[in-house]
């Protein structure tokens, strides 16, 4: 079989690397924001709860694409110029982090009050109660929704096409311009690659979940 567009495979590999880079970096940002904002929403200080709540409401509500445009095209007018990768990581991280914060908050809230009370009855300090009793159980609950969220994140990285960051999707479009008649093959391959990447995330979280919930 003759597949001339495969000569452009190196381009696709370059794109893949960018996609993975953006996905990994924005996952780190999103997880950090989710942990910080999720914990802050359970704080005993109203100001901290309010701040975290505001972050979640704003960034969950705004369209990722508009946020991405804002960070990349609008911020320069305020004197802040970011590289394409940084802009992408920031926009995706802020957006997905807001969803993640809700997962963190609801997982913490789902731990029965009796667990807190048993910790108090044993005279553990508030920090020790959080660290040794609440968090380990909450993290186990967070894993499945976080797995889904990171798959969501991976798929949303293709939006960086619109700020002309040369990710997987962007490169596929480039190749398509040169091998127009092969469009089904090119986009078919694209779908398969995203599917494989998603599977990596899915399997990782399954294994983690199995390991961290052996006690169930």
């Amino acid at each position: 079989m003759n597949l001339p567009w495969l000569e452009s495979l190196p381009l696709l590999v370059d794109g893949l690397l960018i996609t993975v880079q953006v996905a990994v970096l924005s996952s780190v940002v999103a997880l950090a924001l989710a942990a910080a904002a999720g914990l802050a929403r359970t704080s005993r200080y109203a100001a901290i709860r309010g701040l975290a709540g505001t972050y979640v409401e704003i960034f969950r509500a705004c369209s990722l694409l508009v946020l991405l445009f804002w960070v990349y095209f609008a911020l320069p007018f305020l004197g802040i110029e970011l590289s394409k990768v940084t802009a992408a990581v920031l926009a995706i991280g802020l957006n997905i982090g807001a969803y993640g914060a809700e997962i963190v908050r609801s997982s913490l809230k789902a731990i029965p009050e009796g667990q807190h009370e048993a910790g108090i009855a044993l005279n553990l300090s508030p920090n020790e109660r959080m660290l040794r009793i609440i968090l380990p159980q909450a993290v186990a609950r967070m894993l499945p929704p976080f797995g889904n969220l990171l798959i969501e994140l991976l798929k949303s990285t293709s939006l960086v096409y619109f700020i002309t960051l040369s990710d997987l999707t962007y490169e596929a479009m480039v190749i398509r311009n040169n091998y127009y008649t092969w469009t089904p093959h090119i986009f078919g391959s694209l779908l398969i690659i995203y599917f494989l990447l998603s599977s990596c995330i899915f399997i990782t979280f399954r294994l983690l979940e199995r390991k961290l919930t052996a006690w169930r």
Binding site: P112, G114, Q115, L122, N123, P126, E128, W215
Partner: protein, 282 residues
């Protein structure tokens, strides 16, 4: 059943009562816990309507009464899980929910509560074991984190307690693998290992299948016979209360209605409330 003297006191109390000439064999001691004019409301609902209660060192009190009468709330206030709306609780003559600051009594800080809590322990109706920890870890957690014991010493103490409740062969199981009775016995060992001076048992057999109640009550009887720890036993098990308690306190609608030795209360109840309450257990 433990033999009872005519006045309804346990033998060792009888002796103390004779020596001191005081009625219940405890009153010559200084109470370890005093509830004074305690009231508690949840929003509009007043649950505790003025309670005075002394608990003496080593004394076993069974707190009985209809559900909703405020028994759990009374125990939870001692465990610092619920703050009284008014009144004071003292442990060893020190206010629990207040502390002295520049000559004034102010609301207790977390640090004050932490210090006071080391004298109290509690076993809950629904066990509240930590599901992500093995039996052994459940029992060593507090000795290690709070008492800062070395791992070996904490484990030694924990194993000793687990032997006392008959679970030394379950050290490395997770709670999910245990029966309700076994879970509750782990919870008892977990509270005991901190060596509190007074321990609250809040209906610890109410969530158990009937055939598992006995094993837990037997463990509590053993602990009661060991001696020094005061116990506030909230229970609906009247036979058990009668066997274990030095004093029965009957409460209803947020007040103490009647109290006395098991014989006094069970054989000769005074109030209509108590009479009709006891009818239901005949």
């Amino acid at each position: 059943m433990i033999a009872e003297a005519e006045n309804g006191l346990k033998p060792e109390r009888e002796e103390a009562a004779e020596q001191t000439g005081l009625p219940n064999g405890y009153t010559h001691l200084v109470p370890i816990v005093r509830y004074r004019s305690i009231q508690k409301s949840f929003g509009e609902l007043q649950v505790i309507k003025g309670i005075d209660l002394d608990i003496y060192p080593g004394e076993k009190i069974a707190l009985i009464g209809p559900s909703g009468s405020g028994k759990t709330t009374l125990g939870r206030m001692l465990m610092t899980l619920e703050e009284p709306s008014s009144g004071t609780i003292t442990i060893e003559d020190e206010p629990l929910w207040q502390m002295e600051k520049k000559g004034n009594l102010v609301r207790a800080s977390e640090k004050h509560l932490h210090r006071m809590r080391s004298k109290v322990g509690m076993v809950f109706q629904h066990f509240n074991l930590f599901p992500h920890m093995t039996v052994l870890r459940n029992v060593t957690l507090a000795p290690r984190s709070v008492l800062r014991l070395a791992k070996e010493e904490a484990e030694e103490r924990a194993v000793e307690m687990l032997r006392k409740v008959g679970l030394e062969n379950k050290l490395h199981e997770y709670p999910a693998k245990l029966s309700g009775g076994q879970k509750q016995r782990v919870a008892i060992a977990r509270a005991l290992v901190m060596q509190p001076k007074v321990m609250v048992f809040d209906e610890v057999t109410s969530a158990l299948d009937p055939e598992l109640v006995g094993e837990v009550l037997n463990v509590i009887k053993d602990i009661a016979e060991d001696g020094n720890m005061a116990m506030l036993l909230i229970t609906h098990e009247m036979e058990f209360a009668r066997e274990v308690a030095d004093r029965i306190v009957f409460g209803a609608e947020g007040r103490i209605v009647e109290q006395g030795t098991p014989v006094e209360l069970f054989e000769n109840p005074q109030s209509d409330r108590l009479k009709s309450f006891l009818q239901r257990f005949r």
